[in-house]
Symmetry: none
Subunit: 215 residues, 4 copies
């Protein structure tokens, strides 16, 4: 009995939130590898085999061991990218002043993110694009992004009500802005000469002019 009791304390691995330290590390490692493969090969050509190879794992079974399935892994990819993106974007946006300032900050830090994590947003775009019509957790997947876009729509309407932005269809504006940013991000993957910072500035100019009241 005593032996049994002791066992639980002394042995093996520290845990936080139901997962072992090393398991979390493996999961993270696999997610990283997945992000890289997705960004480079595209979602359609991403397979467990490629991810395993990228992660230096001996078999695809390893991935199935740590993730419930392909969907589960993709979900984690999305979660990881969103987490990193949020951590990067939110303080930068909040540091900006006024609706115009925050719009510019949003666009510029989105693009800047490419210099810090060049594969993250491209991977996110790939995954979200290809998971579009997938029934089961559709809301869960694109949901977080949808929520972000809804928030932005709301902010734009506030800016319109405050007289700082002109009168446009906020939904279309957000879609256009997202699409324009994604366009630059996608282009950045296979065009290493692209001056990303300049792109951010230009994009911000574009949507500043597109949204602002008069001048």
């Amino acid at each position: 009995m005593v032996l049994l009791m002791r066992a639980k304390n002394s042995s093996s691995e520290q845990r936080a939130s139901g997962r072992t330290f090393t398991e979390s590390a493996r999961r993270a490692q696999i997610v990283q590898a997945a992000i890289e493969v997705i960004a480079e090969a595209g979602y359609a050509k991403t397979s467990f085999a490629k991810i395993a190879k990228q992660a230096g794992l001996s078999s695809t079974g390893m991935i199935s061991y740590h993730f419930k399935g392909k969907d589960d892994l993709m979900h984690e990819v999305i979660a990881e990218v969103m987490r990193v993106a949020q951590a990067y974007l939110v303080p930068r946006i909040e540091a900006a002043e006024g609706y115009r300032g925050r719009l510019r900050a949003f666009i510029e830090s989105n693009v800047e993110l490419l210099t810090v994590y060049p594969k993250y947003l491209p991977a996110l775009i790939e995954v979200l694009t290809n998971l579009k019509g997938d029934d089961p957790h559709r809301i869960g997947y694109a949901g977080a992004l949808k929520a972000m876009m809804d928030v932005q729509e709301q902010r734009m309407r506030e800016a319109q009500a405050a007289g700082e932005f002109r009168d446009f269809d906020a939904q279309v504006m957000v879609t256009a802005m997202r699409g324009a940013i994604d366009g630059v991000i996608t282009r950045s993957v296979h065009d290493p000469d692209l001056d990303i910072t300049a792109c951010g500035r230009e994009l911000a100019d574009i949507f500043d002019r597109a949204t602002r009241r008069t001048p």
Copy 2:
């Protein structure tokens, strides 16, 4: 365009460019089915099986018989969409006056095209984004699109030189515009409530404001 018109010659086994009439019909039928499947299911989930089913064909062998391979079929999908898009866009753009007018015409007719061929541009986007890093005819594929975008860049520079457009990075502007249009197009597939005409008008407003000289 002229080539298109010339296509149908008459002989007892009507041929054009080495293909029988019925074979061309079959090919067209398969390409149509492919466009629909790609737009609805996404590139990653498009298979010969689904395309055959959509086309009312009993076997996938039929597709391999008419196309040299999957890449060949995709190539044809791209060519078909580009042909239709050109036929729709070019006269509308050319009918417009001035750089501003042509920019607006370009954006609006791109989006309008969705009402006539709702699956065409979505399919094109799917294919082009997923064929990115692909081996053989990569230049041929994205090349055509790249050429189109280069042309637009050139036009924008002309407009800037003419003093009609303000001073911006033409490459970024084209990328942003393309991305914004694609965003709306992609959204249109699974959002039937979208007011497409309004979207076109709004998008055109956005890039008119983003490009024009005086506020």
Copy 3:
């Protein structure tokens, strides 16, 4: 056009009920192989690989090509065995006279069936046993057997009402009879010395005595 019309008539394969002649042959061949493997190795150790090997097929993909999945194949195994069993049993049972005679005929021809198709009923028992708690088409699977057992229960109650059988619980009697027959069938698989005809006679004696009114 004429060419197209002609095509449908002259070409390829005769059809009956939506399946080609050769496809039906392949399906039958696979079902046969499945029956043999199941009877010999048991359901738990039956795999597409073994079935393909038994059927002389080069790959397991072939099986998936002809059947929608493992469940579909098992469904066909059940259907095939039931079809053969019905064809064998029904005329023999109906040729018998009186409730006692038909009961005896039922049992004896069940067991006799082993001499004609030694693997059929063993395979059926394996499949039905192991598909027990399987949600989806459970009713469809065991359903046919359940129906047969219900019919027998009904017959027994009629025989009781007619005063030919004594008063017992018909459900338990049918379960016992089915179990007893299955016991003999199962034993027959790995005990080739078993005198099957004698077993049938003995089994029939047992249930004749168990059911009849006085003696």
Copy 4:
């Protein structure tokens, strides 16, 4: 039986037959879980993963650690069920009088055992039917059961010699009886409405009538 009673000796690390007390406890726990999973899911769908989950263990490694392999675990399942069954059946059978009485006692206590250990006999049946053609300890597995059935055959022949039972094939009778009992046991797993005691009585009636001399 006697061995069972003797098992718990006392020493500071209590051992019996080379095993620590806690190890025996773990083994027993795993065997229990295995019995439940096998009875509920069927042998074919029983995996170490499910057993570990049922036992509240975090990994399947635990099972491999305590058992030499899947076959070893199954061997233990059989042994455990046989031990419990013996302990339940033997005294009840021996308390009965005469061959007829003992036959009835055998059948009724077999079925009664379901009320005390509902999963034990179902699990045994699953394992034994699915281990049929299995290599290593086949004789050891089915051997014990075979021995039991041989004993019963012998008893029946004695009863026949004593003039208490009529003249039938003892082997077939035992097979039939075993099959009939197993039929009821199997049915009991997923049919909670079954009146088990009534089933036992009816089954006993059936085989009493089937075996006894005078009608």
